[in-house]
């Protein structure tokens, strides 16, 4: 077992998570707003259109903990006389609350921790802004608020979960594209949904982050996508960087030992 796989905390309730079914998403951004309202996340005040379809918040970041992607696709007509069609994919992205969370692994202060719900949370009063988690996250989720120095991301509404409430974004979502619950149950639900969509001919439908054997041990927040992950700005096959950490430490130890030996060698010949 690698150093990263020390498992979920033993205490507490079963692991909580999100299943975001993008086939139900109407791109309303209620999740973005509800998240900001609940967590008092600052708004962007630049007031500039990105021109990237209806997405004007662009990516997850310190001030965007839920982000809705909009992808416009041309669907070439099957017969040449007909018009090309269009598809408009919408998907709400969030921190994956990885089973093997690189951000959490590398945090030197313990600001990031795994909660009793199995989620990954930054403690704002502890974070020293070292930014290590930022470079560690394979999904590009967590980021630093420049003017503040600390990092921020989705907490899966840690405070609300503590009060037995569902996260603000999931609660708001008009079509239940965002489903919150016990991860095992969500996985079962997602499997059924996938099958249903495949039966309906939605060939592009696939689950993303559902597999506990993937590079991050499965996501605590996983997705049903209708196209390749990278189309949505998601890495196709992310791996938790700390999976290779034991190997790295071994190499480093080798190099360190080599240095010491080398240093001894250059002084070979004793006193001058």
């Amino acid at each position: 077992m690698s150093v990263t796989q020390l498992g979920m905390p033993a205490i507490g309730v079963p692991r909580k998570g999100f299943f975001t079914d993008t086939s139900l998403c109407i791109g309303c951004k209620a999740c973005e707003v509800a998240c900001k309202e609940w967590n008092s996340v600052p708004a962007d005040t630049s007031m500039q259109l990105t021109g990237e379809s209806f997405d004007n918040t662009s990516a997850l970041g310190a001030d965007t903990w839920r982000h809705v992607a909009f992808i416009e696709q041309k669907v070439p007509a099957t017969d040449p006389s007909a018009h090309d069609g269009v598809k408009w994919l919408m998907s709400s992205d969030v921190c994956k609350h990885c089973t093997n969370a690189a951000c959490l692994d590398v945090c030197p202060t313990g600001a990031l921790f795994r909660t009793e719900h199995g989620t990954v949370v930054v403690q704002q009063d502890v974070c020293n802004g070292c930014g290590y988690c930022v470079s560690a996250c394979p999904y590009g989720v967590i980021d630093q608020r420049k003017e503040d120095g600390r990092v921020f991301k989705c907490t899966m509404c840690y405070d609300r979960l503590g009060a037995g409430e569902e996260p603000a974004c999931a609660k708001a979502c008009p079509t239940k594209s965002i489903q919150y619950g016990e991860l095992d149950e969500l996985r079962a639900r997602a499997d059924a949904r996938l099958e249903e969509l495949h039966e309906r001919g939605e060939e592009g439908a696939r689950l993303y982050g559902r597999d506990p054997d993937d590079g991050v041990g499965g996501d605590g927040a996983f997705f049903l996508l209708l196209d390749e992950p990278e189309t949505y700005g998601l890495p196709p096959d992310p791996v938790v960087t700390t999976r290779d950490l034991p190997a790295m430490w071994k190499r480093a130890a080798g190099a360190a030992a080599g240095m010491l030996v080398g240093a001894a060698v250059i002084f070979w010949g004793g006193r001058k």
């Binding site: 020293n128 070292c130 290590y132 470079s135 989720v141």
Partner: protein, 316 residues
């Protein structure tokens, strides 16, 4: 994978936006920190060797270099933290999964040792303890010089992570080269033999390992050749190789050659750190360094899993 293999670099992305976040770190702080740490660490080794082999001038300059460099590196580190006032949080926990946590503990061992040995050497107070501290600093220094490679490699930054197997050796070589170079520049040529040897040996290791890293075949190595990073790394090699040759050929005879060549090797080491830093940054900006290798990996896995049937062809 062979570096010559033709890649299918066509990939979809979300408006060409990066998938990863750029490192929040500033080049001067972090590359500077790593360089200074390496310099300090290897200098401590030189200092310890010198104290035992009776090279007082080398010993003094190496120990002072170690103290100065480690102080500078801590300043850089503190400066880089978004909230320097919380540096103290670093020793809140001890996390083996966090190279930065491990590094903090290593530094907290190394720093006082390096400091004590330098102070004792300067003031002559508690000489025995000072010498013991010198040995301790040398041992701890070996960790200081190499853990930074893990620090960078243990990220999702493609260029850094892809290099995780060689990077400790690159950094070890580079640290040695810089310390050797600086000591060769600062010490009288007669005492500087080990320093020259360290500089040359380090430079060789640094160069060989860098070349290995650059030619590993990973797509992300592109970033080591292009743009700012490419320029920095080419300059680095010129300085390192030129300096090493200078030291090897003329270091023994001329203080001037020794000083110039030593500084050149050290500069090569610094440029290397900056180059690698920039390359990493570049690899987070263009999503292809994330998507293409991961997609290849995925497809290879899928092909292995279902050799006969072609699984759902991704609609491009």
């Amino acid at each position: 994978m062979s570096p010559r293999r033709q890649r299918n670099e066509e990939f979809t992305s979300y408006y060409g936006r990066p998938i990863l976040k750029q490192p929040t770190w500033h080049a001067l702080d972090i590359a500077g920190y790593i360089f200074a740490g390496g310099l300090a660490a290897a200098s401590s080794m030189l200092g310890a060797g010198a104290q035992h082999s009776g090279r007082p001038a080398l010993e003094r300059s190496a120990k002072l270099t170690a103290l100065t460099a480690i102080s500078a590196s801590v300043v850089a580190l503190v400066h880089d933290l978004g909230r320097p006032e919380r540096f103290v949080n670093m020793l809140r926990v001890a996390k083996p999964t966090s190279p930065m946590s491990v590094g903090s503990w290593i530094l907290s061992v190394y720093g006082p040792l390096a400091g004590a040995s330098a102070l004792s050497n300067l003031t002559g107070v508690l000489p025995r303890a000072g010498r013991a501290a010198g040995v301790g600093a040398a041992v701890a220094g070996s960790a200081v010089a190499t853990y930074t490679a893990v620090l960078l490699a243990d990220t999702a930054v493609p260029t850094w992570h892809d290099a995780h197997e060689v990077l400790p050796f690159v950094f070890a070589g580079s640290a040695a080269a810089s310390a050797g170079g600086v000591a060769a520049a600062l010490s009288p040529v007669v005492q500087a033999g080990p320093a020259r040897r360290m500089a040359v040996g380090g430079a060789v290791l640094e160069t060989v390992m860098s070349l290995k890293m650059e030619r590993s075949g990973n797509l992300s190595t592109e970033t080591l050749h292009q743009g700012r990073a490419g320029t920095l790394l080419r300059l680095s090699k010129a300085c390192t190789v030129g300096g090493a040759v200078g030291l090897a050929l003329g270091g023994r005879h001329s203080r001037l050659v020794s000083a110039v060549s030593g500084a050149s090797v050290a500069a090569g080491s610094a440029l290397l750190r900056f180059g690698i830093f920039e390359a990493g940054k570049a690899s987070t900006i263009d999503p292809k360094y994330v998507v293409v290798p991961q997609r290849e990996r995925l497809e290879a896995r899928e092909a292995a899993a279902a050799p006969a049937v072609s699984t759902q062809a991704p609609a491009k």
